[in-house]
């Protein structure tokens, strides 16, 4: 261990350090200020009836709605349903996407044959498949999860495949020169080498799986945050719509942060 020495900073360095501190502080202050101003204006304008809270709801009414739905246990139930669907869709899409990417990496021939189909699938707005999904897998949770998987899987496959193919040619030659077979190249080089890209794919998929699940819930559902939003919209209960959207924001944020923590742990190595 290095001995801790007392360093006398020059004035120039002190100014530099101060500038960094000030910079950080002003950024945070501005961020908080925006939130306070927006919420404050919203509350004041709706309270004074300058804007009709029927159309815009208001922060206080949102909180009231949240407390009410929380008390009846409804909120937790709907959150549970949506989180469940998202997690299943997220995990299945990631797993299947990586698996297909491995198959495509393995066989150049397969890659070439399937290339145009993947391009079409990637370009297709997956939401257009909604009616087909409902007919094929039934109107229910499975349809929502299928929608979620469809939205995530193509981008997962394409990102992972490009990460696999980007592996340094010399590293592959090195493995071959040491007598590695294709399995060993895959598991000891290609996959660990793509790990950083895998974490970025996870980050993208967190966002995409929420899109997929909420889309699915819009199309067909009896519960979930997406259901609450659609239902609230249909009966013009903007309090319900806004508060559900807020909850959605928070949960998606938490999931994103969890992946962020994972990423930092991985990158540290």
């Amino acid at each position: 261990m290095k001995k801790k020495t007392i360093i006398a900073y020059t004035n120039e360095h002190k100014r530099y350090l101060k500038k960094i501190k000030v910079d950080k502080a002003t950024t945070i202050i501005a961020q908080v200020l925006i939130l306070v101003v927006v919420l404050g204006l919203w509350e004041i304008l709706t309270m004074t009836n300058a804007i009709d809270p029927f159309f815009l709801s208001s922060p206080s009414r949102m909180i009231k709605t949240l407390i009410e739905t929380f008390k009846t246990g409804n909120l937790i139930y709907h959150i549970g349903v949506t989180v469940y669907e998202t997690l299943i869709g997220f995990l299945l899409a990631t797993f299947l996407g990586v698996f297909i990417a491995i198959l495509l990496w393995w066989s150049e021939k397969l890659r070439k044959i399937l290339d145009p189909y993947i391009v079409v699938l990637n370009a297709l707005p997956k939401i257009a498949l909604g009616p087909v999904i409902i007919i094929w897998v039934g109107a229910g949770t499975s349809a929502i999860i299928t929608m979620c998987i469809l939205i995530c899987i193509v981008i997962t496959t394409l990102s992972m495949l490009s990460a696999f193919l980007n592996c340094d040619k010399d590293k592959i030659a090195l493995m071959k020169s040491m007598g590695a077979n294709k399995f060993q190249i895959l598991f000891k080089l290609i996959i660990p080498n793509a790990f950083v890209d895998f974490v970025s794919v996870l980050k993208i998929n967190v966002g995409m799986s929420w899109v997929g699940t909420i889309m699915g819930e819009y199309l067909v559902s009896k519960a979930g945050l997406g259901y609450l939003i659609v239902y609230g919209g249909q009966v013009f209960n903007l309090d319900l719509v806004m508060s559900s959207t807020l909850v959605l924001c928070l949960i998606a944020c938490v999931m994103y942060m969890l992946v962020g923590i994972l990423e930092r742990k991985v990158r540290k190595r």
Binding site: A173, L174, M175, S177, M178, G179, K188, P192, R269
Partner: protein
């Protein structure tokens, strides 16, 4: 031992949609055991191709490669070092060094592990065995890469411009390092380089190739005192003589090249 490695009348063509390119034509040379042979030549003449042939990663269109009297098969015991050290960032130094053993399912072989330990201790990497490559200097990384190939006890070591990614000062140090390790471990080395000084300071012989399709233009024996380090050889009075000689051979090639294009 003479003719430890022998390339017999090798030709190799590359095929692309645009046509066929003859990279090597009737190339023959041999290397003796425990010698350090450098290959220099005009850029794009197929130097790296020769290493790929010796390692068995490429098959010649014509001719044969013999190592220790046997034809090169798929699983030859060769050590290959590349421009960059190609250490795997997600593995510790120890895990990197034992990668080859793992691939050959010898990672639990007592004797092999003893050799790994000996090599790490001998060449100053033992205390870093649990570090990750990013924590090591360029020179240490290159040493780790060398040990990775040496612990497989290769019959021949192939170096593909292994010092070209290093800055000049590091390069001089690493050259000394690598040279002493190779001499001590009694390795036979075929090295490809574009750096004439490096070739002279490291090698017993320097082979000059012609432009594509590559043939052997000449082989120059470097008769500098064997007990000198590469850095000391650079200061020897005969060093510049060899430099001029190889430089002339190479520039001849370039002039020929230009006159053909005209």
């Amino acid at each position: 031992m003479k003719d430890y490695l022998k390339l017999n009348d090798i030709s190799l063509s590359y095929h692309t949609k645009e046509g066929e390119t003859l990279a090597l034509e009737n190339l023959s040379f041999s290397a003796n055991k425990n010698e350090y042979l450098s290959i220099v030549g005009p850029s794009g003449c197929g130097k790296t191709t020769i290493l790929s042939l010796i390692s068995g990663l490429l098959k010649p269109s014509k001719g044969e490669v013999l190592l220790d009297g046997e034809a090169i098969g798929k699983n030859v015991d060769i050590g290959y070092m590349f421009q960059r050290d190609q250490l795997f960032e997600w593995r510790t130094i120890y895990k990197n060094v034992t990668l080859g053993l793992e691939l050959k399912k010898k990672a639990k072989d007592e004797e092999c592990l003893k050799r790994v330990e000996y090599l790490l201790k001998q060449y100053g990497l033992y205390e870093f065995k649990n570090s990750y490559p990013s924590e090591l200097s360029g020179g240490m990384r290159q040493r780790a890469a060398l040990i990775r190939t040496l612990c497989l006890e290769p019959k021949i070591l192939l170096l593909d411009e292994p010092f070209s990614a290093l800055d000049y000062q590091t390069k001089l140090n690493v050259c000394d390092d690598v040279h002493s390790i190779i001499t001590e471990e009694k390795q036979t080395v075929i090295a490809v380089t574009h750096d004439i000084s490096e070739a002279i300071s490291m090698s017993d012989r320097v082979l000059v190739l012609t432009k594509r399709p590559a043939k052997v233009k000449c082989i120059i024996d470097i008769n500098l005192p064997k007990n000198l380090t590469p850095l000391e050889k650079r200061e020897n009075k005969d060093f510049s003589k060899y430099f001029d000689l190889i430089w002339k051979e190479l520039s001849n090639e370039k002039e020929n090249n230009n006159s053909i294009h005209k």
